[in-house]
Point group: D2
Chain length 426, copies 4
């Protein structure tokens, strides 16, 4: 019996070693197109410097794996804990988020050395022949999922940095390719009844996806794909941003105060619409999903169109019934498609492309429990005033998304690849 | 057949006439203890001047009943629409909320004349022998419920105005009387299963309580009463406000930035705790429900104690099973008990006392539809970033509360009589 | 010898007793037209509630005369010191300025009782036969000048409160009377040379006017009167507010950020210009001096016109040479002329009407010394980042102005009656 | 006659060519110690990224010399005008100052190419044999003085960027060397009388130094050197920052709101004082001039010590009488002494070291006229709410300072090398 257990753990160790190598490498691949200067700045509080992402994801392994489990581990630089902690109160003081973008040192060169140092220490652990504490494997797995989340944030943060530069530099010239679409839009129907929601615990998931539990849904229909730029443009041209009746009260204040008149990255130049993509400033692609919209805009569009946003439960149930995830039809960051485009087969657009705003607030599932210690701060402490998004985006790694995944953001935020799926009662 | 209908309408007209008289009178009764100066100011954006409440509730009847349905109606003063509209975008421009407290004119004397004028016009309608458009009755009923909501706001706004004056003047000397409590605290158990939620439409309710629908609940237990000052004090003394692990991330920022160390209106003077009540500054009553806490504090307290806040569905189901509403045990504003106190019989504390924070976000029920026109702005446009409260408070009129009533506020707000009920899974 | 001194002091005591009676009475006369509600609010931080002025000027006599010099004096209410101290750090904690407008208690009735109490105590001192400490007379004299300053502030604060009410109520219907003007505008020339500046110490003056000292002036010319509304309108119509070249850098930011397009209280209604006066909203009087302009606007206008603002030294020298002060030609508050108008004789407009912005920063004169104790905080601590104004306004009491008087405000402030005099080098 | 003129111009052209080469080279020398990352950020609005300084000083020559006077000049990149204009409204739209630090492109490598391109074009002009428009020489001379100002700003901005990094990296290890001081402090006396002030126009000066004119000074004495760290420490230890009586009213608010307790860059670690210098974090040098103080602190210190700050006129007259400028005794940036230290001979400390706060507001001299066009925006539009500083600092190029030089900053700013000289009346 203990032997069997050991072999399971060894096999898991081996799988994680491979994943560790590939995830860490992928992070570096994503910053290859950058200039040194691009690594440093933080134009708004939500956007972190790419250098910070590289260091922070490394610090995660140092603080939660090496310092805790590796005897005699020599900390690389005691100041880095202070500089690259994000929000773990349990781990001590930290540089306040708005000041991340003023730290020109350590340089990116030094940060890369820090990554190499920590990688070699973790590799040493994988190679070692000694017994394995399964807790370590759990933390490494979380660390890799954490790094994949930061890969996504890094892509959107890079987009923000480059997309707000007056020169509109591109990240990769081929990253916003237009794709001919044969997509047939329709509504999928779901019967009233009791359904099961949430992760069953097989394979990795976050604490906020547990546990599998019953919900009662009323009969509804949900679109098989996302609202496109062309459809959203009709809302703009119909005066949607000037008509209070489509907007939440605080959304109306928000569009007034911030002079919001279109999705983020849209520019009207001499009467024509362009949008900034990671391939530079391009003519608006009518058939691509509209993206970089707030939940406010998603909700207003849906109301104007006579529909509504789905709840996260409706999304998950519809997805389970209609759309086994297939990477082929989705636009994930590791497919090097850095812009949401229309799917080209299967006629179902549930994964990749855009994070889809739901009308569900981010709240705990029944029996939700936070983990002990600093890792308990991962999800639970954000369960107020945020809305759930589902499905993953073109900036999400393809092996980092699943049907039960719950992303969450404040409803006014637009720097992620966020989009709109419509629903209605029947 | 039409005769029968007419007689139903006539009876409803007659009932509404009585209610109109009593509600309008009660509003004036509530401001009797005030000095002229107290009617004018707005110390924070959430607190409106009592004068404004008196005029705004009157304007509601003028704008939605008289202007719309009363032929040849002579508007009292065209400027008042601009000055006393609250947030109805459909009705035109309005004085921005933060500027309500700078309008010294019209004087309170003039506002009372305005009330008399509109009252006499509405009375004329009640007395008239002509046929009745049932729509008018609907709008008057909404107007009276609207005025009762403002009665509650007015009481809490008066408390804020007087309670932040360095002289700590009282509103009514007998309004915070201590009551000997024989309350026996216990947890009420509810089985897992499908339950029905929401108003069935008989009698008045707001659009956000409709319609009656199924929800699935997991087995849980819920307290039969509210957390007391004495119990909350233990949390303070145990260092709860200094320990990040009990707090949402944004709550932790909020208590740091605002130096929150206790419920609102609590003052520590030479080591002893007092709280400002509408009877003035009194020694803290350990047995009374803790009140003027934010949802952040309610949630943190529950976590510290090893419990959680109930969802609004759990609250409603538990209330239906265990607590037929009885005014006798509750502390409502029309009982002239302006402070939440312990109940003295029945051993169930569900109504009056304090609005109870739930862990449910304020979201639409299935099939929710907003009304057409300005009245459609009443509830739906606030369904984002607010949390639901249930049960009514000592500032709520006793005939303005019911099991299905959904109040909602931002989780950081504390100027209402808000309190804490605990729950847990079994 | 001591007898002579005594008789001088007795005569001074007698004169001060008269002045005390008349100044205190004048303060009350100024608030006669107000409604109770008008006494309470503080729409912007610079504007204090009239009730506060009434109490604060009274507190000044209580704190600096009665508490200090009157044995056994019974403080009227210990909380009032906290509530009605303005900025004297030496006297203890105080209600922060932005919160003055939320204190509905004490009521105006109670404040008037407080005035009566303190007045009677000061009167008792005047009537007593005992020896007099000359220090007391000095402090009373300062207190009366202080109260006259507050009379002026109170008039402009009342104007702000009423003038920002959507009903535009008038203060006094006859307070903005048009006067036929026969004023002959011209430039007065002054030769280069050494001049003397400052008060010589005979009669009351503030510490900041002392001592009389030499300055060297270059040859210049200065207007004998103020820029009129009609002249200023030309600047507006020529696009002055849209042309950066006339503005200080920070002034340009200020007009952009605050959307400043005309003097304060000007309203363009259907193409025609009106301005709010204490007689209500009136058609713009082209011949009256332009008022409620910032130093930024005064400076920009002067530059656009090819002139400049005078220094405070040029103003004082020109005034000494050309304009013996005569109340007859000026518009002072005690002449019940609450609006600046054209002078009707003498052809010199140096006093009353408007405070005239100079291009002198408010700095100490040579050998300037602050008084000991709290009264030393009167002037000296404001000698940074403010500009000097000269001449008094229609809200200044006529016996509270003199050639050497130095008023000072931040250059962006407009709620005082401020105006423009032009100068140039020759 | 024309020949003579030509030879004067040719000689001036030749001198300017040399200066152009040396100034442009010195700018690059100053950034040699930086890492690429250091070039990018703007931690506070006052601090510009070093990359921006390099580009902006280059753009100045492109916009005001090449575009205007060089026929057929090919603009390097049309976007650069928008990105690297600082505040010249006349030249078109510009990136708002707070956003300078988010522009990661063009990279520093591209900016250096831009410098090379513009330098080669200006060199071409110097080499050409054609006739010379003297206006061009004037603008180039302004451009070089402008670049020297930016050299100084760049040094202090670099200090800010590195000095606020948690790692406290040094700029140059030898840049804050302690120097043994034999300085003998004393007060220099000046008689009452008429003096001449301002530049006489021989050699370069800014418009704000013109023209030479009379001022009347009262008898005074002025220190021959600056207040030291050791002396200032006495003020801190005596509780100066806790005693309101030394502070301007707005200064008192400023130290409260910003929790100011010592000069900028001072750090108290385990009871001992350190300060960050361009050589890193060093033990406080008691004998060096105190620096990085606001005018508020300079004024408060002087009052506490029983003295006052000099006026700019007193400074200039004292300097003319007592201190012929000698680079030997001063600490200028081109002497590679990046920290103010005690002078070692001559016993007069008027130049270099620190900019010395005066108690003079920055106002125009008599007959001041701004130049036409964009260059007229250089000085005049800042003549409000700023205070004059004299003498130059250790970050000022030694050939960029003179007795009549008027620097100016808002009184709260501390990121320049600012210091304190005492004065008194006799």
């Amino acid at each position: 019996m203990p032997q069997k257990e050991t072999s399971y753990i060894q096999s898991r160790r081996s799988l994680l070693a491979d994943k560790f190598a590939s995830v860490r490498k992928q992070t570096l691949k994503l910053v290859e197109p950058l200039k040194t200067e691009d690594f440093v700045v933080q134009p708004i509080v939500d956007v972190s410097p790419p250098k910070w992402h590289l260091a922070h994801t490394t610090w995660f392994f140092e603080a939660f794996v090496l310092e805790k489990y590796s005897k005699g581990y020599q900390i690389y630089d005691a100041d880095f804990g202070f500089m690259f902690n994000s929000y773990y109160e349990a781990v001590g003081e930290r540089v306040l988020r708005p000041n991340r973008g003023f730290m020109t040192r350590p340089t990116i060169e030094e940060v890369l050395k820090y990554r190499e140092y920590v990688d070699s220490q973790i590799d040493a652990f994988f190679i070692s022949q000694g017994e394995v504490n399964p807790d370590i494997l759990d933390v490494i797995e979380i660390g890799l999922n954490h790094e994949q989340q930061h890969q996504e944030l890094m892509v959107t943060d890079i987009k923000y940095i480059l997309g707000h530069n007056p020169l509109f530099p591109s990240y990769k010239l081929n990253s916003g390719v237009l794709v001919e679409s044969t997509f047939d839009k329709q509504f999928l129907e779901i019967d009233e009844g009791l359904y099961e929601i949430g992760h069953d615990g097989a394979g990795f998931c976050y604490d906020n996806e547990l546990g599998r539990h019953k919900v009662y849904l009323h009969q509804f229909a949900i679109a098989n794909g996302l609202v496109t730029n062309g459809e959203y443009l009709e809302f703009i041209e119909a005066g949607g941003y000037q008509q209070f009746q489509w907007w939440f009260s605080e959304a109306w204040d928000w569009i007034q105060n911030n002079e919001i008149k279109a999705p983020h990255y849209w520019h009207q130049i001499e009467g024509k619409w362009f949008n900034y993509t990671l391939a530079g400033l391009l003519k608006l692609d009518d058939s691509a999903p509209v993206t970089h919209v707030s939940q406010y805009e998603a909700d207003a569009y849906a109301r104007w169109k006579g529909f509504r946003l789905p709840t996260e439960f409706e999304w998950e149930v519809a997805c389970e019934i209609y759309s086994p995830k297939t990477a082929k039809t989705a636009n994930f960051v590791d497919a090097e498609n850095y812009h949401p485009v229309s799917p080209i087969e299967n006629n179902m657009q549930f994964f990749g492309d855009c994070w889809e705003w739901t009308n569900s607030a981010y709240l705990p599932y029944p029996y939700f429990k936070t983990a002990d210690g600093a890792l308990g701060e991962y999800n639970g402490k954000f369960m107020i005033n945020q809305m759930v998004l589902r499905g993953g985006s073109c900036a999400t790694p393809s092996d980092h998304i699943r049907r039960t995944y719950r992303n969450f953001f404040h409803p006014n935020l637009r720097w992620q690849f966020t989009g709109i799926r419509l629903a209605k009662y029947l």
